[in-house]
């Protein structure tokens, strides 16, 4: 078992574009759930809208990169509006069910055979990332970041991904310390009190839903670009649940919490995978197959989510007074 290699892989996972995408999507959930108290279980749907919006406008309409990104963002705003109009007046548990249903509707629609020409059905779409990598200013070659090395494409997507994460964190931080953010937190604590102060609660909630959804749609694009493919199976409800695990790990009403939560989530997954596979390889564990070891890690994710929620709902960074459900 090569511990150096396992640690290097874990570090690579920490700065991977997938982790950046999870951090960004979880930040969106922090805006929804942590700051506004909106129990959005459809973040996977927002990510799918972003990824498919980008891929379809690139492939079907030959749109250049900025237009494709814009289309994806507009699509997610529309999705937020469509979702928000019927649901924002509902109680938390109804909202959860409706948002999860809406995300599944998106997934069913992009999977259907009738739209294979546009969405690629269950196989998804591919070969839409060239426009993004054409912008790469880095010279071809091998780059070393800490213990791992990568080519110029990998480094480029990481730079872009994490820059967006940092900018998004700054934006959310500024928004939440503004008067607008204070109203939002007020809505989370007591909706009726804020309404009594003359604020339009519905409009604030809608704005929060749109902003979190935009972050989700950006995350969807960062998630899908390094893969060079977008497939509907990636955007199932489990994605949303993993994002909630990240959010709760870090702290739901914090700016850095979702980012740190996503990093911890992927590092722990990578470490347990490395250790389990290593132990299987040297024969220390004989009762597991590699496939089962993979499943064991997700059993642990589920158990971790339960234990977190019960014993430390504020996460690593959070403040217990700032829980959406005190």
């Amino acid at each position: 078992m090569d511990f150096g290699n396992i640690l290097a892989l874990a570090f690579g996972e920490m700065i991977s574009p997938t982790t950046a995408a999870y951090a960004l999507a979880a930040l969106g959930l922090a805006v929804h759930f942590g700051y506004s108290g909106l129990l959005n279980f459809g973040q996977a749907g927002f990510m799918a809208v972003g990824a498919y919006g980008y891929a379809i406008s690139t492939l079907t309409f030959d749109a250049p990169l900025p237009v494709a990104v814009l289309v994806a963002l507009i699509a997610s705003v529309l999705f937020a509006l469509i979702l928000g109009i019927p649901t924002l007046r509902l109680r938390a548990d109804y909202l959860a069910i409706v948002t999860i249903a809406a995300a599944e509707i998106v997934r069913y629609i992009v999977t259907t055979n009738g739209l294979t020409d546009v969405t690629g059905s269950a196989n998804g779409l591919a070969n839409f990332e060239n426009g993004f990598f054409a912008l790469n200013p880095l010279a071809p070659g091998s780059y070393t970041v800490g213990p791992i090395s990568m080519n110029e494409r990998d480094l480029w997507i990481r730079i872009v991904g994490w820059t967006i994460v940092i900018l998004a964190c700054l934006t959310v931080w500024l928004l939440m310390r503004s008067p607008w953010g204070r109203v939002l937190k007020g809505i989370r604590e007591d909706e009726n009190a804020v309404r009594a102060l003359g604020k339009n609660v519905y409009a604030y909630k809608m704005q929060a839903l749109v902003i979190g959804g935009l972050l989700g749609s950006l995350a969807g694009m960062i998630f899908t670009l390094p893969r060079g493919a977008v497939q509907p199976a990636n955007y199932a409800t489990e994605l949303t649940f993993f994002l909630y695990t990240c959010l709760l790990l870090g702290g739901m009403a914090t700016v850095l919490g979702p980012v740190i939560g996503a990093m911890i989530f992927w590092v722990v997954l990578s470490l347990t995978q490395g250790l389990l596979y290593g132990a299987i390889e040297i024969g220390a564990i004989t009762f597991l197959s590699n496939v089962q070891a993979g499943q064991l890690r997700y059993i642990l994710v589920g158990v971790a989510l339960m234990l977190l929620m019960v014993f430390r709902p504020q996460g690593v960074l959070g403040n217990k007074k700032e829980l959406a459900f005190a």
Binding site: L39, R89, A96, I97, A101, N123, Q231, I299, G302, L305
Partner: protein
């Protein structure tokens, strides 16, 4: 919320965890011997492997193009399919179950041609199906392409009303099996306020345990009651080990909902860990079709319809006519008042969890016959439809859940007349969202419970 972990609480949690794992490991020992099948979508890999069960895999190359040929009458065997591109030419014929697979040396674009002359009598490609067609790999080692078949030369003589009646009958059967799970979910919501996202796994659990007992050699009519008892046991273990301590601590409803999501994930992967990612069949999954005048229904669907109807009527009778049923309705209405009038609220909730678990297990077994097949994520597939049924009828009302589920079942099946089959769940979910828009309390919900 008080975070003071007492020894009793930790003890309970340990009992719960070990009990859970023990039950599951006992529940599916037979599945261990089976081939694990295709690795199910592990979220880290995030690759969709849509391998149909029982596919013949040519292991010559690691990348392959595959698909299944079926038309309305069933699989189409012995059809020649050729693949060419990237300097490679390959040919295969479809197996008895209609599946075919061609290994290719590298990823890229290939031209896939179906030899129309080898199609069996009466089968023809549907209109607009490209043949030959170009198939491109999208980062995965397997790419599927489906040839859709039309009615072919066989003229379609069934009238619209016959189709409608047949779909409605199937929808009734589907709706009633959904209602089994939905009634349990609704009872649990009514008495505890919990929106239980782990209900889908309780559905899967029933089917998996029934499969386990059947694979041990028990006859199916013994295995099914045992699985239902195991489902009740799972409900009891969940309540005693997890939900009751959480209620004691005064945990809010939203945290409990998120805990149930964690439980759903854990249970789903524990089941997959033991059962594998493949789809298995319960004994008697294939059954004859019975004709009743204009409509026909498979024997299994008819049995499922009768069983769920009888069980739901029984539950309804118990709720309306017995002391414990009355107590349950009292707790649903107002737990504090019920406790003050001498009802043992914890006992009622415990019984509700057991009934809910048993109903979910039975629903899962019937769902396994309806799909057909047992797989680790079968419960997750209908969880939202169960929710839709419950929400349509009004959260917390049992008869609402019954009516809501029947509407969902009918809608799902009847919509296949116009919609593509892979979109049939979309309609039901849309209806749920629309009902919430105009009547948030559901069809039978009480007015004051506005969502």
């Amino acid at each position: 919320m008080i975070t003071r972990p007492t020894p009793a609480w930790i003890r309970r949690l340990l009992v719960f965890a070990t009990g859970l794992i023990a039950v599951l490991m006992l529940g599916a020992p037979a599945a261990q011997g089976y081939h694990p099948g295709p690795p199910a979508t592990a979220p880290s890999a995030l690759v969709s492997s849509s391998l149909p069960a029982g596919e013949v895999v040519t292991q010559e190359f690691s990348d392959r193009i595959s698909g299944v040929l079926r038309n309305a009458d069933g699989p189409l065997p012995d059809v020649t399919i050729s693949v060419s591109g990237n300097g490679f030419d390959g040919e295969t014929t479809s197996a008895a179950n209609g599946s075919w697979s061609v290994g290719v040396p590298e990823q890229g674009a290939y031209e896939v041609t179906l030899d129309v002359d080898t199609l069996p009598e009466g089968a023809a490609l549907a209109e607009g199906q490209a043949n030959p067609r170009t198939v491109t790999f999208a980062g995965t080692s397997n790419v599927t392409t489906l040839f859709l078949f039309g009615e072919g030369i066989v003229t379609n003589t069934t009238s619209f009303w016959d189709t409608l009646a047949e779909r409605a009958l199937a929808g009734l059967s589907f709706g009633l099996l959904l209602a089994l799970s939905a009634v349990g979910l609704s009872l649990i919501f009514g008495t505890t306020g919990l929106t239980n996202f782990a209900h889908g796994e309780m559905v899967t659990f029933g089917a998996v345990v029934a499969f386990g007992f059947a694979a041990l050699g028990l006859p199916i009519f013994v295995a099914i009651p045992l699985a239902v008892v195991a489902g009740a046991l799972l409900g009891w273990v969940q309540d005693a080990g997890l939900w009751k301590p959480l209620r004691r601590r005064g945990t809010g409803l939203v945290p409990m909902m998120i805990v149930s999501i964690g439980l759903a994930l854990a249970l789903r992967y524990i089941i997959q860990f033991n059962f594998g990612g493949a789809t298995q069949q319960l004994p008697g999954a294939q059954s004859a079709r019975l004709d009743f005048g204009p409509v026909s229904i498979s024997q299994n669907n008819l049995n499922s319809l009768v069983v769920s109807l009888v069980v739901i009527l029984l539950v309804g009778f118990l709720l309306l006519r017995t002391r414990i049923g009355k107590a349950t309705r009292a707790v649903s209405d107002n737990p504090a008042l019920a406790a003050a009038s001498g009802i043992d609220v914890d006992r009622v909730i415990r019984i509700v969890w057991m009934v809910g678990g048993a109903l979910a297990a039975l629903g899962g077994i019937l769902w396994a016959y309806y799909r057909p097949g047992v797989s680790f994520n079968m419960g997750q597939q209908i969880l939202l439809l169960i929710f839709a049924g419950v929400v349509l009828g009004g959260l917390g009302t049992v008869f609402g859940a019954l009516i809501g589920s029947i509407i969902v079942g009918l809608f799902v099946e009847i919509s296949t007349i116009w919609l593509e089959a892979d979109l049939k769940y979309v309609g039901a979910l849309l209806i749920m969202i629309l009902v919430l828009l105009f009547r948030p309390q559901g069809i039978l919900g009480r007015r004051e419970r506005v969502g």
